[in-house]
């Protein structure tokens, strides 16, 4: 198995199965590894002058076209009741996943609240979606045992730190938005929440950039 296409596919399958149920993680990674090997072997055996970079592009296309299905597969697997206890003891994964659905509706509510009259109804809907998500992020952070947040991750420290920063983004965003949307709470609390969110964002961005740089360097080392 060679080429940057295989590296991309391997990187992606590792990312979306990183915290999956161990048996499912092992099976999916092994299936993709076998698929990649067979793909490159078939391309090498075919006598049609197919260039290695063309095979890499084919593999990359299969990764990109399948990414939505990978994510919906993972979400469906996480929806089972047997996964609730796991998420409460490993809150970083759930908190990280909450960032995207929280930020979209949250920004929309914040920016369109005093907008045109026709926006009132969409704002109400977005608010109904956003506030429970924000409350859920804060609740998970409160309910989940603190020790699990402090547990040393069984993975490279850079990845563990990035995931922890993502979880911090989720909690600080949730806290800041709850304070901001709930009347009667002191403004300084909201300011502190947003400041903590900003710091988390900077930390996460720096760690994500470092992880991305490391990945690019690893891809360049792959023999073609």
């Amino acid at each position: 198995m060679t080429g940057w296409g295989a590296s991309l596919a391997t990187w992606w399958v590792r990312r979306y199965t990183e915290t999956a149920v161990p048996a499912e993680r092992t099976d999916r990674r092994a299936e993709v590894a076998a698929d990649l090997h067979d793909h490159y072997a078939a391309a090498a055996a075919a006598a049609n002058g197919r260039s290695p970079s063309r095979v890499d592009r084919q593999v990359a296309g299969r990764v990109l076209r399948g990414a939505p299905a990978d994510l919906t597969w993972r979400l469906a697997r996480e929806a089972g009741p047997d996964r609730v206890a796991w998420h409460l003891s490993h809150p970083v994964t759930l908190l990280g996943a909450l960032v995207l659905p929280m930020v979209g509706p949250g920004v929309f509510v914040d920016s369109a609240r005093d907008g045109a009259a026709w926006l009132a109804e969409p704002v109400a809907v977005a608010e109904a979606v956003a506030l429970p998500l924000h409350a859920a992020a804060v609740a998970v952070a409160v309910v989940a045992p603190v020790r699990s947040l402090r547990r040393r991750p069984h993975r490279p420290s850079l990845v563990g730190a990035r995931r922890t920063a993502l979880a911090a983004l989720s909690v600080t965003w949730g806290l800041a938005a709850l304070w901001r949307f709930a009347p009667g709470l002191p403004g300084t609390a909201s300011t502190l929440g947003w400041a903590a969110f900003g710091l988390s964002l900077l930390g996460w961005a720096a760690l994500a950039a470092a992880a991305g740089l490391r990945q690019v360097l690893a891809l360049r080392k792959v023999p073609s």
């Binding site: 596919a9 399958v13 099976d27 999916r28 092994a30 299936e31 993709v32 590894a33 076998a34 698929d35 090997h37 067979d38 793909h39 072997a41 078939a42 391309a43 049609n48 197919r50 095979v55 084919q58 296309g61 299969r62 990764v63 990109l64 076209r65 399948g66 990414a67 939505p68 299905a69 990978d70 994510l71 919906t72 597969w73 979400l75 469906a76 929806a79």
Partner: protein, 113 residues
């Protein structure tokens, strides 16, 4: 997330079951399926089924009980110098589901003709 009625088969899932029926006891595996279902007629690989789409469909069919999955013997794979493949064979329930889906398609076709 799309919720489907239990027993409903998507076109890709019907095609996978169809391939598994054709292969019988030998079963089918990932990349061979992607090749068999290649939508691109010139066969240069541009129409290969995406990883996520293929393995999500296989996982669903297995959970529904339409396919049995078994990892091949490690020694066989090692002898050929490649990773182990996961072989899928169709079950009796899978054959019934495929027949039911085919009859539904036929009835729909007759109704619209």
């Amino acid at each position: 997330m799309v919720f489907r009625k239990r027993g409903t088969l998507l076109p890709l899932e019907r095609a996978i079951l169809d391939q598994a029926v054709q292969q019988g006891a030998a079963g089918v595996y990932g990349f061979a399926l992607a090749q068999a279902l290649d939508s691109d007629s010139d066969g240069d690989g541009r129409g290969l089924v995406a990883h996520g789409t293929l393995y999500k469909a296989l996982d669903r069919l297995r959970r529904e009980g339409y396919l049995d999955a078994e990892w091949e013997d490690a020694a066989t794979a090692a002898a050929e110098g490649r990773p182990r493949r996961r072989h899928y064979t169709v079950t009796a329930a899978g054959v019934r589901a495929l027949r039911a889906a085919a009859s539904t398609v036929t009835r729909t076709g007759e109704a619209t003709a």
